[in-house]
Symmetry: C2
Subunit: 321 residues, 2 copies
């Protein structure tokens, strides 16, 4: 949960004066989004989200994110669309911080996704990849494979503190991933954080995705690999092959995977687990004791890493032959 | 901000199965309410608040609060009305905790109320007092004058830690308040926590009040005294006579004060400042360092106490002669 920025009625009125959204009717800080402050905003014109970008988001990246949201919404992808002010600006300022007003997106995220949810989520992810086709801006994946070894350099002792001997195992993983990482896969805009809490369902059907603040250009199949880690592990740590198969099958109802993409899924999934392990390990140590946001447990992803390490082809059982 | 209870899509579906509200469309934890967890709930039938009562609210008190909300809503007071399930129950359970679904109330609270806001707020408070007339249930004010000395008994050293010598001053205040406390004032249901963040405005006009979880039967004028403390002090600690006059005048547009009530306002305001000073002092010491809720500063109310102590008739300048 996170609401870092407090907005007064006067600041809200000043912001809305630039828009054609009528008078504000209500504003509620929402316990959602770790990177930003989010408010549910109701005006005479309807319901919106007001997102205030906190320090973790680089201001230079905001035009990419906001224009992307506008682009995919224009191509029928259900997401929160940024609302331009009267001058056509998507990016605004409140309390000296960048912010945007986006449309409200209905839907519920699921805590424990079923295989049917995974199928829907997979189809939604492919829909996103297709909707983003032709988007003219680009943004590198700054948490991609090339970033992991440098990121780990300062975290070796944190890894050993988490679990004795872990640093050595991670180093060996990183070497393997660098060696085996596929570099010729079809690329495009990916979500890069396609977790169950960022995906909405209505009556069991995919109804949209939110939180595009890691979106970047990278391999489409890497986005599937992130999702396989996020959606297809059971609470006991086991990998659910049925869910994985449904996620990939759902994806392929909209976009077929090439043989190269399919055969890359295991190493991509191993790498995706590494990416989330490393950032969680980093946040675990970096979060002050009294912080309002509880960091996510890096051990969850350490266990997923171990699964991929022990059964390097496991993910393939979830991919159609 | 506070969302202590997490609700899964499955738990929400089970709860909604008892209601005629259709399928859930969205659920957002809201950073509002220190005592409870609050969710903005959208269903096919409309928008609601789902409130989960956490340990600070006594379950035995919940029927009083919920029936009161239904009663005043039935008499035209704009507040969040509890929605009965198919069996007519207002009080439900989710995750083993008591909860209720209430109607959504639009409006914005103001951070720095103007004198005009104070007038509107005063009129709204009188409207509440009148709407609650005849409500058949009762609940004592367990944070009323009789509770202060026992509450302070365990806080004397905390007071001295806050400010050396403060414990002696507070003890002397408590004696004075016990001696001068008026006991013959007109009584009824009062809000007892009528602070700016619990009062909504739409286009500058009073549009409702929320957070009735301190409501009880006590002197109507005591409710005004709480509001004078909460609404009429400037950030520099000075008491704004103009705002106070408007608050009382706004109140009297709907319910005239008797001479006895008006002349009691100074001691009631001194006592109301004591009530919030004591509970804040208590929470200040009782909140663990890593807690998600930041306790409110007791010094704010220590300064208000000092103003009432130094100028015992100051509040009267805000009351019409």
């Amino acid at each position: 949960m996170a609401v870092y920025t407090d907005i007064t009625d006067e600041e809200l009125a000043a912001l809305l004066a630039d828009f054609d959204l009528g008078q504000p009717l209500s504003l509620k800080g929402v316990a959602e989004g770790v990177e930003n402050s989010n408010f549910l905003l109701e005006t005479e014109a309807g319901r919106y989200f007001l997102t205030v970008y906190e320090r973790r988001v680089r201001p230079d990246d905001l035009p990419f994110f906001l224009e992307l949201l506008r682009w995919i919404a224009g191509r029928g992808f259900p997401s929160a669309t940024p609302i331009p002010d009267r001058q056509g600006n998507l990016l605004k300022t409140v309390r000296g911080k960048p912010c945007a007003i986006v449309s409200f997106l209905s839907g519920l995220s699921v805590r424990r996704p079923s295989a049917a949810h995974c199928r829907e989520a997979g189809a939604g992810l492919a829909q996103l990849h297709l909707a983003a086709e032709g988007f003219p801006r680009t943004r590198p994946n700054d948490l991609g494979q090339a970033a992991w070894a440098p990121l780990f350099a300062s975290l070796a002792s944190a890894a050993d503190a988490l679990k004795p001997g872990l640093a050595k195992t991670i180093s060996s993983d990183l070497e393997l991933l660098a060696f085996r990482w596929p570099r010729e896969l079809p690329q495009g805009v990916i979500h890069a954080d396609y977790f169950p809490d960022n995906v909405f369902f209505t009556a069991g059907k995919f109804s949209g995705a939110i939180d595009f603040y890691f979106a970047c250009v990278d391999a489409f199949a890497y986005d599937i690999a992130v999702a396989l880690n996020a959606w297809c592990f059971e609470p006991d740590g086991s990998f659910n092959i049925t869910s994985a198969r449904q996620l990939v099958a759902g994806y392929e109802t909209r976009r077929k995977l090439s043989t190269l993409e399919r055969s890359a899924l295991p190493v991509l999934a191993h790498g995706a687990a590494m990416r989330f392990f490393l950032t969680r390990l980093h946040d675990w140590g970096a979060t002050p004791a009294g912080a309002l946001v509880r960091p996510k447990d890096p051990l969850e992803y350490e266990r997923k890493l171990a699964v991929h390490r022990a059964s390097p082809d496991l993910v393939l059982y979830g991919a159609p032959a």
